[in-house]
Symmetry: C2
Subunit: 472 residues, 2 copies
């Protein structure tokens, strides 16, 4: 052993060039601290290969010298999945230089990309070919598609287009032995053996290094139009979801819940944004409708559906955007919630998902438990209701210092996660597990499921060098 | 050893009851011959458990006595995946008695079912709750959802709703050790570790026994309307696909290619069916549009789009159904192709998929190779063009006896599969591998991919008792 073996780093320098084996603290720092700034690890080096062959060479070297490696894309993850631990024995393998769009096939509606492509660049390349790559999330200007795949990222378009998993047709992966698996197939149907693709997707770099992918593209909608509906309760939001899906089918492309407190936070910190209603309401839903026909068709279908919801006493009030431009304004309210939260101070974040039919009960039941345990705690409850995904965040009661409140983090997590689990929900809807939720995973998964996962891990990565300490 | 050990069958009888351990030839026969009647295997017994616990008990017994087991649903597979080999050492594990719909959640849009439910019963239970379970295929009156999941079945609605894989949210599986994994989650988003679900889906019973599933439901469209378009070539069909997707988005729910010869076969054997065009055309596309709004909306959108395609010289002629009832008539033309083929005699079937953009080149290039090798051979080329999936079947030249022609099966498979492979296609789009295509799989997959699959198989089924000889 091994990881301090100078021969290993010398080998890497020969492979990648001196400039792409970073060891100085100033150079490595951006790769070692997580996105939210909560943890800083240490690394033997940060390696920046420029080709798939260089990635394979690095992984072979890691296998030979028994050096652990942490694959990293844009390092925008929220669960400490892409930063090393503090042992200093691992290398960070940055995919950032593998950032080529390899090709677009507009007839097959596919795009083939390097794993290090920034998500926004993938969206742009698709748009240039007249197509839509629908994955969209707050970090899209920095995150990479390899990271999106490794965490099976969600975002705001899951209701219509699915998670990253559903947007991927083929993968290219360097195995933990440094071999290259070329699974870059652009096929809608392919039943030839085990689904290795979906095993690597969502594995957070613990089973191999994703180096490339074939992704699905969609026709560009002619127009996306939004409305903001005001409702008395989450149960009404569920009724609205059913009504909208029945009337609009796949044209319903967004359905986001926001509580009164969320919009009050936004109004307090971003007073320049629109205030759609004169009086406050308990809950709001931001709806988005996409039409492949025209802006007028989208507006008309949305207005008719909203009218039916008013008629049925499901909603109290609503604003329908009259154009694509107005629609962007309503989306801003939703997008500013995380920013308003950050401006307001610290909070304890959760990323739970529930069977959609249990959402109203979950929201009320969990709030009651939290109020008993931590009177006055503020819920910042919003999220992708149409996917059953809530960001159920908990902020201190007015007047309680952040630090004092954050000391309760474990107890609050326990209440929220136990409650989600009791409804058959998940403790991580779209963020993954990483190092942050590893112990939580062990708590909520059955021993059998953990054993099956470990069997897969051991079969593919017997040396245990791939992103150790993450997930399992 | 073991499989002839009377204690094993006595144990099974104690577990399931005398009546559900079939050993008489007359009783076991229907379970031992494949759907197309090409192969009859032998079995130690056919076991018919009635509960998940009984399935687990049987599998534990098989593990203890080292008896191989072949899970079987409706036994409608086309690749010898659900019948035993002729050694007589395996048991068939029929899931047919596990046929309960466990529940429908219309708000969550999910249905939870036993694996042995007939597909058509799942569709009916969904419809009773006002929802659509979109999986649809020729065998739907006999096949089971467990078989659909184990083979990742495709069918006619993949273009809009995806394969069976995309329709499944959660699984319940008995492992090769006879343990019960309860992964019956009804969540749209759940990023908590490795995707075991998709590993069992499509594994054809070689990694475990699927006993239950949570499936996605969709809103019922208000109307599905079809049109039949006549075109000069497959290349024109690809242009039509792009045009229709751009104009109709997710409303385009069917896009089936049929060659002139296909419709001539149907006309010859089913003269009572409609003949939409006075003169023949080289190719036809059956299009289906679904509207969540109304029948009138579907008809209008379809007529406008077909008009644009005529305007752009993409199609030569078209018939648009004026109602849902007329639409059924056009579908019959497509559905009668396999029946007309069977009536015409034997043929050599293929189930290939291609990148959609390569379909026209594949069809022409493969036809030219076949004509050189087997002059006069007839192509019965039809399929789910919108998914890149062709049933590229080859029938004898007029006057050549079936048996003489079928002797060329291996050489013809080689031409068709080599050609599909050369375009980045798949030798099995929706039928799976089973025993029939196992050697073909070994030919076309890379040694690394085969090694990864074997590593997974060994990790989960170290005794190798699960459906041996299938896939790997």
């Amino acid at each position: 052993m091994s990881h301090s073996d100078p021969a290993f780093l010398a080998h890497c320098r020969a492979l990648l060039g001196q400039a792409h084996v970073l060891t100085d603290d100033a150079d490595t720092a951006p790769f070692l601290t997580d996105w939210r700034g909560r943890f800083t690890g240490r690394a033997l080096a940060v390696l920046r290969p420029a080709s798939v062959e260089q990635v394979a060479g690095v992984v072979r070297a890691c296998a030979e010298w028994r050096v652990a490696l942490v694959p990293q894309g844009g390092n925008t993850g929220l669960v400490l999945g892409s930063v090393p631990d503090d042992s200093g024995s691992a290398v960070v393998l940055s995919l950032a230089r593998l950032n080529r769009v390899r090709g677009v096939d507009a007839v097959n509606r596919t795009i083939t990309v390097d794993a290090g492509c920034i998500l926004q660049h993938v969206q742009e390349a698709a748009a240039q070919a007249g197509c839509l790559f629908p994955l969209s999330l707050a970090a899209e200007g920095s995150c990479t598609i390899g990271g999106n795949l490794s965490t099976n990222a969600g975002g705001t378009a899951v209701l219509r287009y699915g998670n990253t998993r559903e947007l991927c047709l083929g993968l290219e992966v360097v195995t933990p032995q440094g071999e290259l698996w070329s699974g870059l197939r652009g096929l809608r149907k392919d039943n030839t053996g085990y689904d290795l693709r979906d095993l690597f997707i969502g594995a957070e770099g613990t089973l191999g290094v994703i180096t490339g992918a074939v992704l699905k593209l969609y026709p560009q909608p002619k127009a996306c139009i939004t409305a903001l509906a005001a409702l008395p309760s989450p149960a009404h939001a569920l009724r609205l979801l059913t009504l909208m899906q029945d009337r609009c089918g796949a044209s319903l492309t967004g359905f986001e819940l926001m509580s009164r407190y969320c919009l009050e936070l936004v109004a307090a910190h971003f007073p320049q944004l629109p205030k759609p209603f004169a009086a406050p309401h308990a809950q709001y839903v931001l709806l988005e409708l996409s039409s492949s026909q025209s802006e007028a068709h989208a507006v008309e279908l949305l207005e008719t559906s909203i009218g039916a919801a008013l008629e049925a006493d499901i909603i109290e009030d609503a604003v329908v955007a009259a154009s694509v431009a107005q629609s962007a304004g309503l989306w801003q309210l939703r997008e500013h919630i995380p920013l308003a939260q950050a401006a307001a101070g610290k909070n304890i974040k959760h990323d739970v998902s529930l069977p959609i039919s249990s959402l109203a009960d979950f929201i009320a039941g969990t709030a009651a438990q939290l109020e008993r345990a931590f009177p006055g705690a503020q819920l910042v409850c919003f999220g992708h209701l149409g996917d059953g995904n809530l960001h159920y965040n908990v902020a201190p009661p007015p007047g309680t210092p952040d630090r004092q409140f954050l000391a309760n983090q474990d107890a609050i997590n326990r209440i929220v996660h136990d409650s989600a689990d009791s409804y058959g929900g998940s403790i991580s809807a779209e963020h993954g597990i990483g190092a942050l939720k590893r112990d939580e995973l062990a708590r909520y998964k059955s021993p059998l499921e953990l054993r099956l996962m470990r069997a897969v891990k051991t079969a593919l990565d017997p040396l245990g060098i791939m992103n150790p300490g993450k997930i399992l």
